[in-house]
Symmetry: C2
Subunit: 250 residues, 2 copies
């Protein structure tokens, strides 16, 4: 693991860029940690959506909030073909979405991304100011495509926020099987008028989770219109499960 950038300090929260090497790949990531306190503390992993990257605005806001309000460590990494892993010339949404579809269809992408996250987890937990606390996962849309296999493979992850996805696409069967093996608390976000994800397929994915504590929150609007309120609620949902004695019951 290498530090690549010493980022801003906002309030008490320091942002740092890092790289982790995995099986010949370099995984670029970003870490938010409060400067006060020390590890072990809960770690939240953030998975971005297709065409976005590890520092897309909603992840930066969520990372800073989870670190500042709850004292958590928070990390995001670029997905395959995204952010600092873009192919040369892939600079617009159409090229990036095509790259996403190609990656999603490629045999091995899901396993590679799970390995990327697991190497990132191992590297971060070796840091004194992160340590070996409980882990949560947050990822919508493409963040759910790669997050469901990760959470299924990772017993260290104890709570997850998914959504904007359904049982569809090239990894549909694997997603169903992985979801069925997930039993940690799950919050599932749905956009009621999502033009990319039909309702029945979204319901199918929500149904597939084995979790006793699972909930579906749906709002009107298209794929990317998730209300800020639900992002804030999802942060509290993670906090409630990762630091149950520090957060009130609501």
């Amino acid at each position: 693991m290498r530090w690549t950038a010493e980022g801003d300090v906002a309030g008490d929260v320091r942002e740092r860029g890092f790289e982790v090497d995995v099986a010949g790949r370099t995984v670029p990531g970003v870490l938010w940690v409060p400067e006060s306190g020390t590890g072990p503390r809960p770690l939240v992993l953030l998975g971005h959506g297709a065409t976005r990257h590890k520092r897309v605005d909603y992840l930066v806001a969520l990372g800073r909030r989870l670190a500042s309000d709850h004292g958590f460590a928070v990390a995001a990494i670029d997905g395959p073909g995204h952010g600092d892993r873009r192919a040369p010339g892939h600079d617009d949404d159409i090229a990036l979405f095509s790259a996403f579809l190609a990656e999603w269809s490629r045999e091995g992408t899901v396993d590679d991304m799970v390995a990327d996250w697991q190497a990132t987890i191992d590297a971060l937990r070796a840091l004194d100011d992160v340590g070996d606390g409980p882990i949560g996962y947050w990822g919508l849309s493409m963040g759910t495509i790669y997050g469901v296999p990760l959470v299924a493979a990772e017993p260290r992850i104890q709570v997850a926020v998914f959504g904007l996805m359904g049982l569809l696409g090239p990894t549909r069967d694997r997603m169903a099987a992985d979801a069925a093996s997930i039993s940690c608390p799950v919050m599932f976000l749905q956009q009621w008028d999502d033009s990319l994800i039909p309702r029945p397929e979204a319901f199918g994915l929500f149904d597939a989770f084995s979790s006793v504590d699972k909930r579906l929150h749906a709002h009107p609007g298209d794929h990317s219109a998730v209300p800020v309120e639900e992002i804030l609620f999802s942060a509290r949902f993670l906090a409630r499960h990762l630091a149950p004695h520090a957060v009130d019951a609501m």
Copy 2:
């Protein structure tokens, strides 16, 4: 309006029983108001489910909470054939559910119940410690059957919590039309494995509301397994809209 019972004071909240006369009917109700402060203040109307009554445990808890935490006035009335309006001998759930189905099928029941609520609203708002503040409605299952027509008919009601119901039963068409005329903020609670309300009919009712600010919260479990957490969230949802300057953004 007559006071029928001087109930307990729990904390700062006084409970009183009342009766209102409407078109030859006597409507039995209960009112929770904080002893501190005075009107006008927000008023929340609570509609109970089939076979239950105005003082069923979850309504008493919700009424006391809305009064104590938010300073609201809160009222519940017995539905047709329920509580103090039961027919002689209707003392078990089977008799009460049969009476509910008969009332639901009777031409005029919905209009009568809307009139009962409206007379109750008028009587309560004439009280100094209630006054003419904004009004919210909360009612699941049978509380939605009668609540949707009430909220559609009552411009003074500015926010509503519905759920455990769908576009079905003898008033299905009216429910669809009434829901379409509702545009206030709506929170809709659904039980994902509700054996009484099929998912498509529940989605149909949620779809029918014209509200821009509407949300569906779904949890696993059968009809009556709504998590306490969602009851608490619904109280905050009401408070956020009835007293927006007194409640934080979440």
